[in-house]
Amino acid sequence: MRIDCDVLIIGGGPAGLCAARSLLGTGLKVLILERDPFLGGQLLKQTHMFFGSKEQYAGTRGFEIGQILTREVQASPNITVMLETVASGYYPEENFILALEKEKKLYQVYFKKVIVATGASEKSLLFEGNDLPGIYGAGAVQTLMNMYGVMPGKDIIMIGSGNIGLIVSYQLLQAGVKVKAILEAAPTVGGYFVHAAKVSRMGIPIFTQTTVKRALGRNALEGVEIVSLDSKWQYVPGTERKWPCDTLCLAVGLSPMSELLWQFQCEMRYVSELGGYVAKRNPFMQTTHPDVYIAGDVSGVEEASSAMLEGTIAGFAVSKALHKMLDSVDQVIQNSQTFLDEMHVGTIGEKIRNGLAKVEVDVCL
């Protein structure tokens, strides 16, 4: 069956929802495709309060932000949402996206502009036995405990001290799970000091220059062998020790889910600071394909706050490109760009700044 829309948004997470919200009241026919049975994406498993300014929902918990955005989008007459629907491919000859609803119904979705907000997938880590049941990505642990109220384990060791590793460790404590330790391969803690201080106060030790060498157990995880690393990231012989645990949580980063962007033949570049292959884009989140915009983790892995800002920028930029913008469009885009730049200042934002410098290009709007 054929569907026509002005703006197609692929992904109903923080980026996609903010993009859709930016198109409220423009009269444009907006369609959101979301593969899950609900909107909100990864926001729904975030129990912590967000930082930033009032516009960025500072002081509001992630899952509540997800609910607020969902309500706004669902209440708007010009936005249609298709849940349990996967955007499974782009067909350039006829210029449509093939969408599969509930594994049953196929749709050819025609659009004027598309905003790809497909998010990212979790990375694994290379070590012996890394496929045993009991070894999960940090997102999986959050899904189990924060969305469905199921204990991921009793005894957990966390790998990675970035913000996700730190926040999920704290969330595990809230759920009543014991976090034995956080291991960090780098010489310093990766995440914000405020998060690291919080888990340290709760009694979770953080071991830097330490990683997992081997998973122990035959049918399921029973423990890990950990090892110290030297300044060249090599194992220090003789420092191996075995710690029992039933769950190992890997918070070692994410990579953008950019498959559709490859199909659109956007110009792509591998940028390790942004998690993998990302599309080149201009400050309006427009890629080298003039009808394709990006927002959120697919445009470079960061966090939900930046995803929301990118979604906002992409949404308003699309409304402008289709000449259906609100009067305040330039001001709103500029404000969001300023907020986004503010998130990237200082030493904390250095990595992202370096990454973005490699993909930012001038493309005509």
Binding site: R35, D36, P37, Q42, T47, R61, F63, S121, E122, S124, D131, L132, P133, G134, I135, Y136, G137, G139, A140, T143, L144, M145, N146, Y148, G149, V150, M151, Q174, A175, G176, R218, N219, A220, M257
Partner: protein, 100 residues
Amino acid sequence: MRIKEHPIIDFQKGKTVTFTFDGVQYEGFDDEPIAVALYANGIKTLSYSLKYHRPRGIFCCIGNCSSCLMKVNGIPNVRTCTQRIEQGMVIETQGKGAIK
């Protein structure tokens, strides 16, 4: 095991459903995925790898990886971390065999 008390989240559960896993009856809620219902019942191994028959559990739990594929109502390769559990579903371990 299910979380009984949580300082921030009030878990709203759906309707209780019964299903079988490898012939044994279990209970879950109709608004949760199959793999989550199994996990709540203490079942972590969902399949065995094709070549070496190594046990597999969930990994990403949002439908990205293929670690949770199982046989559901006779259909193999169902992504159980996103597919909801339903009353009377017949769930089976996929690629069952001894670990070699």
